[in-house]
Amino acid sequence: MIEIERLVKEFGDIKAVDDLTIDVPAKRTVGFLGPNGAGKTTTIKILTNLIASTGGRALINGVDVMTAPKEALAHTGAVVETPEFYPYLTPVETLAYLGRLRGMSSSEINRRSNDVLAQVKMVEWKKTRIGKFSKGMKQRLAIAQALLHEPEVLILDEPTSGLDPRGMVEVREIIKGLKKQDYTIFMSSHLLGEVQEICDSAALINRGKLLVYDSIDNLKALTKTSKIEVTSAGEIPKSAFDRIGQLTDVSSVDAVNSHTMLVTFAGAVEARADLLLAIQGEGLKVTGFSPVGLPLEMMYMDLVKESR
């Protein structure tokens, strides 16, 4: 398990992490969300001993990363940003290097290297020097090295960053598979759909402070606004925009094109039915009425907006 207790990191006058407290229970997958510069990577760097905190504690399996990093990281696998690899080594040599540092035997390294390289679909490149690899290939290899020693805890910083859409799906499938194997996973991402799809819970931070930390279901329930795309059979008159904008719980109406508009609506599910009726009452022949965007995305936007 991971325990982040009142963690603080200051860079001069800037507080990158501000009194952050998060507990990641064992065998759970927790997403770590926040806009750029929110402090996600800084927190993960502290957890992985890449930088020192200014205050507070970060513990992995009960061991303080700051005071006993070797012990804390013994059963942790990490991918922080997109790491660079030693270009003169092949994937097999890289995994052997890291495996030896972790005390794995040669036979164990061979077995696990083949497994994890197959898992990230890098087997055919296993004896090619990494200097020639693309960013996506390096990201796959980064995931492979994190899994090599079958760690109890996985810390992933934007694990699908740099991957093409197919690669992203594959990595998500890998993480889902690990989740089923009871790994404790703490992953940052700015892809909300990814977090919603993979994680049990999510913590949202902004400006280094924790805004909310709850299960994905509870976070979805926190969603206050939704966007509804409304399509009409005929052209939507300009006067209809003004009138619809004045309806209860509607905060804005934006034209997508002459036949489609986007309504930002803060009402619950039943109120949405009333909204449909009201729009039809404006004389529009509604052919489409569907919410757009993910609930988590709406929640994220609401909370981040409020925290500013």
Partner: protein, 372 residues
């Protein structure tokens, strides 16, 4: 919180700090073995060995040869005074044979074209003289033969210490280049090239990474030095009829100097943010900045025994037998003094630099954070 036992149990298969050092060393050494820098260093050794060995003979200045029927030049009486004071009994005349080593068994003296027997030293004998690393032979006649037509024939060669000294004058430069190639960007590259994101989140302490890397840089550099010294030894066997006794000692000094220069290269690598800056600064520091300081100090008649580059010159001077002593000369109204590092003091100074730079470099590397 974990108990001590649980903590120990959780680490049951992670190697100890000491066990991790050879692992880092092995893969860092692989980097050097696969790099063009090692090839460049080896090429540089050949750039030292080949021209120095082959160019002078090609330009008609061989390292060994045979002199036949060469007329000798006698010293003037006033020049003989200094040699006479060297405990030599009364004599008649002295001729100089300007060679660093002569096969005395082959030496024949002719008086008016007739062989002139030495009569077991009663007629003439030789004395090898050395001054500031240069050697010559005095052919001392017990009678005054300056009026006669005296010629000599002999086989000569370059003395092993002088021969090795020609090559190992570049020894300190090879050390500096090795430290620049194998050490200057060793630490900073982990941050600039972002490989630290891969290695630092592993259960290994940064000082162990430092030691493993340092050992690998030293291994690659020592291999290059061995090539240089091995080459000098082989060439010396052919051209100087033997290997200088102090070649091994020179190698030990070179390795000690390498440790100190490498430690400072690592210190610069831990301090700076860019690989280019660290490489250029290391190179310029040892090849330009410190030698300029040494030169200015010598000009002001100050013996900078605390200077690393001044002490590093012991690598080549230690070959000379006897070891040169400070000397001065005056020209155009200026007095210049040539200082030579004392071997014992140099050994201490170099060790002190190495010790302090290693500690400081490891400390800074341990504190350096992967920000940005």
């Amino acid at each position: 919180m974990m108990t001590t036992e649980e903590l120990h149990e959780s680490l049951h298969h992670v190697p100890s700090d000491l066990e991790q050092i050879p692992i880092v060393w092995r893969y860092e050494l692989l980097k050097h073995l696969r790099s063009k820098r090692l090839l460049a260093s080896i090429a540089l050794v050949f750039v030292v060995l080949v021209p120095i060995n082959f160019l002078p003979p090609a330009l008609d200045v061989p390292y060994s040869g045979t002199t036949e029927n060469e007329a000798v030049a006698f010293l003037e009486p006033e020049d003989m005074a200094g040699i006479a004071g060297a405990g030599i009994p009364e004599f008649g005349s002295i001729a100089l044979l300007d060679k660093s080593a002569i096969d005395l068994d082959s030496l024949e003296v002719f008086l008016g074209g007739v062989p002139f027997d030495d009569e077991d030293g009663a007629a003439w004998f030789t004395l090898r003289m050395t001054y500031q690393g240069a050697s010559a032979y005095a052919l001392i006649f017990t009678s005054n033969v300056t009026a006669a037509d005296v010629t000599v024939s002999y086989e000569w060669f370059t003395a092993p210490d002088e021969f090795a000294g020609i090559f190992l004058g570049f020894g300190a430069i090879i050390v500096i280049i090795c430290a620049t190639f194998f050490g200057a960007d060793a630490l900073v590259s982990e941050f600039q090239n972002r490989t630290g994101y891969l290695i630092f989140p592993n259960p290994i302490k940064k000082p162990m990474i430092y030691i493993g890397k340092f050992a690998a840089s030293m291994t690659a550099s020592i291999a290059v030095l061995l090539l240089l010294y091995g080459g000098v030894a082989i060439l010396s066997m052919f051209n100087a009829r033997g290997i200088d006794d102090d070649l091994g000692l020179s190698f030990l000094f070179a390795v000690e100097y390498l440790v100190a220069v490498m430690a400072i290269a690592y210190l610069i690598s831990a301090l700076l943010k860019g690989t280019t800056g660290a490489t250029v600064l290391t190179f310029l520091l040892f090849l330009l900045i410190l030698p300029i300081i040494d030169g200015v100090a010598m000009f002001t008649e100050t013996k900078v025994e605390g200077s690393l580059t001044f002490s590093g010159d012991v690598v080549s001077y230690i070959l000379l037998d006897p070891y040169p002593v400070d000397w001065a000369y005056e020209t155009a109204g200026f007095e210049f003094t040539f200082y030579y590092p004392d071997p014992a003091t140099s050994a201490l100074v170099i060790a002190a630099y190495a010790f302090i730079a290693v500690l400081l470099g490891a400390f800074l590397f341990n504190r350096k954070q992967l920000v940005g």
